[in-house]
Amino acid sequence: MELIIILVIALLAAGLSLIPVGKKLAPAITNIGTLAIFLLSLRVAFVAIKSAEVVALKNWVACDSLGAIILLLVAFVGLTASIFSWGYVEKRVAVNNPYKIRRYYALYNLFLFSMLAIPMLSNIALVWIAVGLTTVSSVFLVAFDNTSESLEAAWKYIILTSMGAAFALLGVLILYWGLNTVGHGPFTWAELVKLSPGIPGDILKTAFIFILIGLGTKAGLVPFHTWLPDAYSQAPAPVCALLSIAESTTVLYVILRMQPILQGAAGNYAGVWFIVFGLISVGVAAFLIIQVKDLKRLFAFSTIEHMGIILVAAGIGGPAAWYAATLQIVSHALAKSFAFFATGSSLMATGNQDIASVRGLIRTSPVSAVSLAVAGLAIAGAPPFAVFLSEFSILKAGLTSGQYIASGLLAFFIVIAFWGVMYHINRMVFGRPEPGSKGIPLRASNITALLLAGAPIVLLGLFLPGPFNKLVHLASILLGR
């Protein structure tokens, strides 16, 4: 039941945000709504730890432990991003324009609704539709500035991801055909995993490749990633935090769900595809990070890099690697949302997202400078942050399972990306400030969001609470057969 209520709250908040009363009502409704959604998701997560599955509508709306983790992440980022939006939108995106503010929050809630739906839908055809809805509900958020650059980014975004969606659609339909060759069960993840040993391998493989290419476009895997840095560089910073979770993490979750299905059929070629695609993404993104000139593009490429890391970890296979992959999903989502809030803060402080023209942030705006430095270290994977822990476990799992080449390449690319991220951030935080650079002071809501989003990336790097560890463990079992 909680699952249905979560969806209803998101839809209601979208509708209520449009009520034309001042400029405070819409953010207030969104904050309350996302807080309620987060608390309910927390409850879902606790129930998922105890019983295997939270069922709202059998074979249609249900959430197992893997789904619960994604749901919790989306809800958490939805909450912190809505708090961050409060000060950011009012001061930077839609200054003194109550109509635009209301429109922003209505789209925000719709976008959140479609993302929350993905992990809790069991029927794969409906999952495809929810993935399609994330695109259409976020495209006007990407184009929110209404400049020619933001329209260009939105256009590339919708065209490329819709092309991917059409490929994924054929994949989903072929998958359904495969399921029907062995019976007439419901078209759900669990049913497919159960019956996949009987489905002809060729059908599964064709379906898998179409789905990997199609959804890989939306998750931002190289070479279908070209829309991603453009969209991130144009979207408002809190939307980037959501995009990085929605477009990437929830869609990657759908791709990862394919692995146990394929393992039933023959061999582990899904693992091989994952490792190859993942390494290409990590490698290309690591080198592209070095040459970026725009702070948001920096973190966009870092998202591509992390999607690749997760894919490699899932492809290596084995309980240790799957555990590490799940942990990486969590730590990346938390660190990346924090990184985009830090980006937003530095944008507010300097009014400029061009890396070369921001220097000596530590003197002009200590809060955003410190958070940017923390974000850089956290996302690049320095100890004691959560990403370090998960990346370390991935490499360890890779080495113990004998994947020396994949692990070696992964470690090499991670080091390059680390260096690239820190090189740019270091120059922005320290150095001599440009005279006369003036920005807007940060609002209380921005600082609250930074603290809220920053706390878990530090805490989870130091210790994993018992129930959370159990949830990650249960979810990682679902990544394999």
């Binding site: 029927n123 055809a125 409906l126 495809w128 539709i129 399609g132 809805l133 695109t135 259409v136 495209v139 006007f140 184009a143 209404n146 400049t147 020619s148 650059e149 329209l151 260009e152 980014a153 939105a154 256009w155 590339k156 919708i158 065209i159 819709s162 092309m163 969606a165 059409a166 490929f167 659609l169 054929l170 339909l173 072929i174 359904y176 055909w177 029907n180 060759t181 007439h184 078209f187 002809p200 060729d202 059908i203 064709t206 840095p229 453009d230 560089s233 144009q234 592209l288 040459q291 000139k293």
Partner: protein, 227 residues
């Protein structure tokens, strides 16, 4: 591809006719220059998709497929065509689009190569086909998808790109009506709604680009890229 020993029923023949015309309309989109003709061709292709669904539905006495045919006809052939005409300035449709990354004869050749590749890729799958219509619909649908993807890649105008994407979806559904004919109706309805929303959003975005940037030649918008 076909086993000539089996005689095909009249319905399978009708379905094959719809499939052949469907593939021809995909090739037509590669060759077309005028923007308005594109839209008409898309409407025609949607009618062919609906008629294939209707033939299959009639043959197997499946109300579900006949409902799919109805949904396709209403949403794709009528609503989407009307929406795209309403949201985008009439002047755009009168345009004759010349600039294209590759000229039309070589484009047609590539489309042909894509079709041949599709037959190679799908032939191992066809041995699992329980029904002769799958042997028409699956490769033709897949070819429609790939040719649509090619159209989106080479065209520089906004409207042909949108229609290319919609025709890709038509291709996927053309395969789907035969291989996934028992997909729950709720999913079919939601998918039709999804396609409708995508068409609407793309139409609105095209209009905004036209108003703001003054052109719909989206292929020429290249201010964002890596240096």
């Amino acid at each position: 591809m076909l086993d000539h020993n089996t005689t095909l029923s009249i319905f399978a023949k009708l379905d094959a006719l719809a499939g052949g015309l469907f593939l021809l309309s995909a090739f037509g989109m590669v060759a077309m220059r005028q923007v308005l003709a594109y839209l008409n061709l898309f409407a025609l292709q949607s009618v062919l998709l609906a008629s294939s669904a209707f033939v299959l539905g009639y043959q197997y006495e499946s109300n579900h497929l006949i409902a799919v045919a109805g949904i396709t006809l209403v949403v794709k052939a009528v609503l989407i065509t009307w929406l795209l005409r309403r949201t985008i300035d009439r002047e755009v449709y009168a345009r004759r689009e010349i600039s294209q990354a590759l000229n039309i004869p070589s484009s047609l050749l590539i489309a042909m190569v894509l079709t041949i590749i599709v037959y190679f890729v799908s032939s191992p799958l066809l041995s699992f086909a329980s029904d002769p219509t799958i042997k028409f619909n699956l490769p033709i649908g897949m070819a429609g998808l790939l040719i649509g993807a090619y159209v989106v890649t080479v065209r520089r105008e906004a409207v042909p790109q949108v229609i290319g994407i919609l025709s890709m979806e038509n291709g996927a559904f053309f395969a789907g009506i035969s291989i996934a004919s028992s997909l729950p109706l709720i999913a079919e309805l939601a998918a039709a709604f999804d396609v409708l929303i995508i068409a609407l959003v793309m139409g609105l975005l095209t209009r905004r680009i036209h108003e703001r940037v003054g052109t719909t030649a989206v292929g020429k918008m290249v201010s964002l890229r890596e240096e």
